[in-house]
Amino acid sequence: MTSRLGGVGMTLAYERRVVARDLTVAVPDRSFTVVIGPNACGKSTLLRALARTLRPTAGTVLLDGRDIHTMRSREVARTLGLLPQSSVAPEGITVADLVARGRYPHQGLLRQWSTEDERVVAESMAATGVTELAARPVDELSGGQRQRVWIAMALAQQTSLLLLDEPTTYLDVAHQIEVLDLCARLHEEQGRTLVAVLHDLHHAARWATHLIAMRDGRVVAQGDPREVVTAALVEEVFGLPCRIVEDPETGTPLVVPRARRGRQSGPVSAG
């Protein structure tokens, strides 16, 4: 396994609150890596460290073998994109304008809008299905549409690595599936490496090609979801007693929480 992006011996902290100590992870190339774990386990913090928006107090983040904090901002931004959990759309900005801002790392004072920029922005909007919305103000869109616009902006950045922090939060179930399918397509068709933090174990198991399970700032398990997602692991990471069945659509593991005592029906095997 080769890896362009990873962290070695990282200590991650906000002000004085330490979230993770001596954390080492590697993102396999051309994978769709998903990070899971209970609330406050440090998964978003890990993503922020990998994206260079949080500086580790110890250890290093490596991108293509170099310490990411010694690289020029723009250079990193041409390789590594991030869709943060919360972004602010300035009032009245149109979809096309917002997506166009993703071109920043490829532009300059005298290279403000090349034909290449135009093409890439159009393609990004087409890939996320927001072309029709190009002239609409972002604040008038629905949550699902808005999320696709932000993803389009990250795509316009044209990075081979893309990090997404909980891209499905606040979306209804259909839009969640839509966004994840979009991510899978970016991964399969364009060969990008994706890292996403997800809350839903089922989504993680179904779409990820590589899974990282975290708890209390440590990596508990990682690897192919079919091997990683076991009843024992879910119990260890989330404290949730469950059974694992096979997803009838994809054959990936499906986590079924145990019923409370007295509401069980059918055979119960010893988990």
Partner: protein, 354 residues
Amino acid sequence: MSRTRPAAPPPRPLARAVRIGTRSVRWRGRSVTVGLVAAALTVVLGVLAIGGGDYPMSTADVLRTLTGGGTVAENFIVGELRLPRLVTALGVGAALALSGAILQSLVRNPLGSPDVLGVTQGASTGALIVVVAGGGTLLLSGAALLGGLATGLLLWTVAGRHGVHGYRLVLVGIGTTAILTGVNGWLLTRAPLMDAARAVLWLTGSLDGRDWAQAVPLLGLLALLTPVVAGTARALSLIELGDDTATALGVPVSLVRQLLLGAAVLLAAGAAAAAGPVSFVALVAPHLARRLTRAPGPNLAAATGTGAVLLLAADLAAQRTIEGHQLPVGVVTGLIGGTYLVWLLAARRRAARI
């Protein structure tokens, strides 16, 4: 070129740009129109401003004098009295508006302005100290500049340790403003009545009797800072999307913030040194520019132009509205600006933000 997922091409280009070779500059129709109209208004108002007063001159006379064909008297009146005042007005308006536009964008708050951050009050404190001590006009300008800069430095040291975060900056600004307001009020009671009157005139903001000594340093400051601001303007429009997004797009957020904060403080202090803390231009001009251009983002250039025209027009109104009386320009900008904001709020009842 074959793509698996053919996209319907957008009906028209996503953005307009002038391209020469690999170079390209983006433009927007409305923004260019706003710029042209602002330039035209500046010329018309400028000719009016130079032509009017105790010694009226026709438009032809004004143009003839400006192009070097004036009589000795005309040359003196235009070159030494009216032109410097005009240039100071434009410079002060431009500097305040640019400072306001930067700060509104930096702190992500439509009420962000040098007044909110206390820079203006700091300049006033400097000026008032000179008034109480009985110093002259030049010393007063210098003290105002120093006061503004010192306040900026205070903001930086108190709020800047963690990269000048927007919210913290506003908090520190509010605190600083309140302290300085108290100090200024006290200083005003320490001065003899004649000096107090002079101080109030200064505190209101006035262009009366401004000559090249005020205009030239301000123009120099603008010439120095405009390239810096222009160079970081695009980065600023990304910071509006949130710190994480901006960082991910390759913007050195902390550096850009500190650079722009410094520029905004310098511009506001420079403007205050030249004309006193003229109120509301810094707040209103960026709003007005945004409504005119309908472009998202900080709209720095449009705001600068709007501010210059606004202050010139306000000064003209201040000189001509009441026969025989010259109001200080700050009174007019406050009244006009405040009324505009009230109207804006009343007209847009549903929107919670501006």
